[in-house]
């Protein structure tokens, strides 16, 4: 697939910002779910940077990825406050029930699993973020329900599309 046009669109929208590389990379992630290889040389050229500099920025930040992953990002908080409320057990359950480890996607490409270090919801731990929604006091059961909801809405969307 060729993403050049989309990437150039994004660059055009952001090029006048000071220090525009992070906003551009965020915008690419939002649009494409990953940063395609071709973006590196394109961005380097447009921002007057070396490809190494662009690559370096992508690899430095957890939020940026060069591989396409599952469509829903599930983040389990691994920080101290959540650990004090049983997140270590929760993460074991999550990995078993989804059948994947951190940094992996489910076979149907529905879910991508990632650790996160604090969602700022530490008085009602353990916390989980699914896309842009944050959930408090998550138990293994309530986690499974959240995943069922994602699966249900996927089936519904497919039915509607048919």
């Amino acid at each position: 697939m060729n993403y050049k046009a989309e990437i150039l669109d994004i660059v055009r929208d952001h090029i006048d910002m000071e220090g525009s590389l992070l906003p551009i990379l965020h915008a690419i992630m939002d649009r494409l779910n990953f940063i395609p290889e071709e973006a590196i040389s394109l961005l380097a050229k447009k921002l007057n940077l070396s490809s190494a500099e662009v690559s370096g920025v992508i690899s430095f930040y957890h939020d940026f990825r060069k591989e396409r992953v599952g469509s829903h990002k599930v983040q389990i908080c691994r920080s101290e406050a959540c650990q004090a409320m049983g997140s270590r057990d929760l993460e074991k359950h999550v990995k078993t029930s989804l059948g994947i480890d951190y940094g992996e996607s489910t076979k149907d490409q529905l879910i991508y699993l990632e650790p996160v270090y604090c969602l700022g919801n530490c008085a009602c731990s353990p916390s989980v973020r699914i896309d842009d929604d944050i959930h408090a006091r998550v138990t293994p059961d309530s986690f499974d329900n959240l995943i069922s909801d994602i699966k249900l809405s996927k089936t519904r969307d497919e039915d509607l599309a048919r």
Partner: protein, 515 residues
């Protein structure tokens, strides 16, 4: 009868279901053709009671705690009554008048006085509660007068380092340069902290006001809020708040008819904890890897894009609007020793009554954890308390009487940091926590200096050997030496303070390391 219903819209309230409850109330009100107003307010920070829904009539505001969808119908039946608060008394979730809730009464709310009162994005509400009073005053003052006011308040940076804010501002004011910046550090990455988030989501204009004042004080016309990407709701709230300020003339050219201009923009971080360190944050804002810079030069002299830059935490800038609005003396009157004003403390982890409490410096840890927190959520005894985030030491029971005061805490080898307190019950294994501290450093180190980058990796390896009970005695010595190296030779607090939780866990809970 009830005139207004308040349903909080902050992250924790939403994470506990407040959006669903709001929708049910809204539909029920519509069905009844009721003219009761439903307001999405910020949170008051009593998170263990969320969703905490309030109902206002002529007698005041009354709350229900932990409201779930099934509670809505019985509450709806009370709304038309003249004596709502008497009829509600029978409901086990009814808390009475919100003002009289002990947890709130025992606080000194300055920075958080407006949080949870009304719609965080309503400018009229903000102004009615005293907002922009500080800004209006500042616009009539000379830059040096503003800086002096901040100095006189005794305000110290609330991000963790506790550097005197007025002195930082003075340096930026004194540095001659055609371009200067005001940067808000909203990369609140410490586990157990959420005060910045709560302020940004529940009272965003207070932060914006503080930043405009900072700009006027040091001669800067451009501000950035560097916000962590883990806060999606705060991101939306801030962006809406900023565009409303532009629309009403609080931001932009010739603000409020003055000759002062100030532009403000939110920039998202990308999941790197180290970007909470100010020089790394500046690198990130410039679009680079978040590598820590060597100091000097100080950011106040050579900061963002090489220009003099004020870098302050959300709470520091939030306090500015209070200090200018109510005067340095008013603020200074709270606190103890060289720690003036109030500290927003965040009670987190395994705690029964977790949330945000704003108290004057000088209150003891015990009063906070036992008085406000009421013990652990699990009901088991407390085993450990970590103060000041992932780089903070565990504070032993015999030191829980230490007053919250920057100097008193540093005297016992601990730190207040950003005011996060994480409680662990007796099931916690402190060896695991020590290993996690090293693991976290290994994951989040920027990699610039060797003690942090390699030290954390070696720290994990040594701890793993200790965990397997291999040569425990000699590996413990090795661990101690490694900690010393990290502490003394790291470039910033990440590597320099990761040993704090490790060493204090080892000192206080040695049995967890040797069995």
């Amino acid at each position: 009868m009830i005139k207004k219903i308040f349903v909080p819209i902050d992250t924790t309230a939403i994470a506990l279901g407040s959006n669903v409850v709001a929708e049910i109330f809204e539909n029920a009100l519509k069905e009844n053709g009721s003219d009761i107003q439903l307001i999405r307010n910020g949170s008051r920070g009593m998170f263990w009671l969320e969703p905490l829904i309030e109902f206002e009539n002529n007698n005041g505001r009354f709350s229900f705690k932990n409201v779930v969808p099934s509670d809505v119908l019985p509450i709806m039946q009370l709304l038309e009554a003249d004596d709502f608060e008497n009829l509600a008394t029978g409901n086990e979730k009814f808390l009475g008048n919100t003002k009289e809730i002990e947890y709130l009464q025992n606080q000194s709310r300055l920075s958080f006085s407006k949080a949870g009162i009304g719609d965080p994005l309503c400018l009229e509400n903000y102004t009615a509660l005293g907002g922009f009073k500080g800004l209006k005053k500042a616009l009539g003052m000379k830059p040096q007068e503003i800086v002096d006011e901040v100095k006189n308040s005794g305000l110290r940076g609330r991000g963790g380092a506790a550097f005197p804010t007025g002195i930082k501002w003075q340096t930026v004011l004194d540095t001659k340069h055609p371009k200067k910046y005001v940067v808000c550090n909203a990369d609140e990455g410490d586990s157990g902290t959420f005060a910045d988030r709560l302020l940004m989501e529940s009272d965003p204009y207070q932060l914006i006001e503080g930043m405009i004042i900072a700009g006027a004080a040091v001669g800067s016309d451009q501000g950035y809020i560097y916000l962590r990407s883990e806060y999606p709701y705060a991101h939306k709230t801030l962006n809406t708040a900023i565009s409303k300020c532009y629309a009403e003339g609080f931001l932009g050219k010739n603000m409020l008819g003055s000759n002062i201009s100030f532009d403000l923009e939110v920039r998202l971080g990308a999941g790197a904890y180290i970007c909470g360190e100010e020089t790394s944050l500046l690198e990130s804002l410039e679009g680079k890897r978040g590598m820590v810079r060597s100091k000097p030069p100080l950011p106040a002299i050579e900061g963002l894009f090489g220009c003099p830059t004020v870098v302050n935490n959300v709470l520091t800038l939030g306090a500015i609007s209070i200090i200018l609005g109510q005067g340095a003396t008013f603020y200074q009157d709270f606190g103890t020793g060289r720690s003036r004003g109030t500290l927003p403390v965040q009670l987190a982890g395994n705690i029964k009554r977790g949330g945000l409490i704003e108290v004057p410096f000088g209150v003891t840890l015990k009063e906070i954890v036992e008085g406000f927190g009421n013990g652990t959520h699990s009901g088991r005894p407390i085993k450990a308390i970590q103060v000041g985030g992932p780089l903070g030491a565990f504070v032993p029971k015999q030191q829980w009487d230490t007053p919250l005061d920057y100097e008193a805490f540093s005297a016992i080898g601990a730190m207040i940091g950003h005011g996060g307190i994480v409680v662990f019950d007796e099931t916690a294994n402190m060896f695991d926590q020590a290993r996690f501290a090293m693991e976290f450093c290994e994951i989040e180190s920027c990699g610039k200096c060797t003690p942090c980058r390699i030290g954390s990796t070696r720290g994990m390896e040594v701890l793993d050997k200790i965990g397997l009970q291999q040569d425990v005695d000699s590996n413990l010595i090795l661990l101690e030496e490694l900690c010393d190296t990290m502490e003394n030779a790291s470039l910033c607090a990440m590597g320099g303070m990761t040993p704090f939780p490790v060493k204090s866990a080892l000192e206080l809970y040695k049995e967890d390391f040797t069995s």
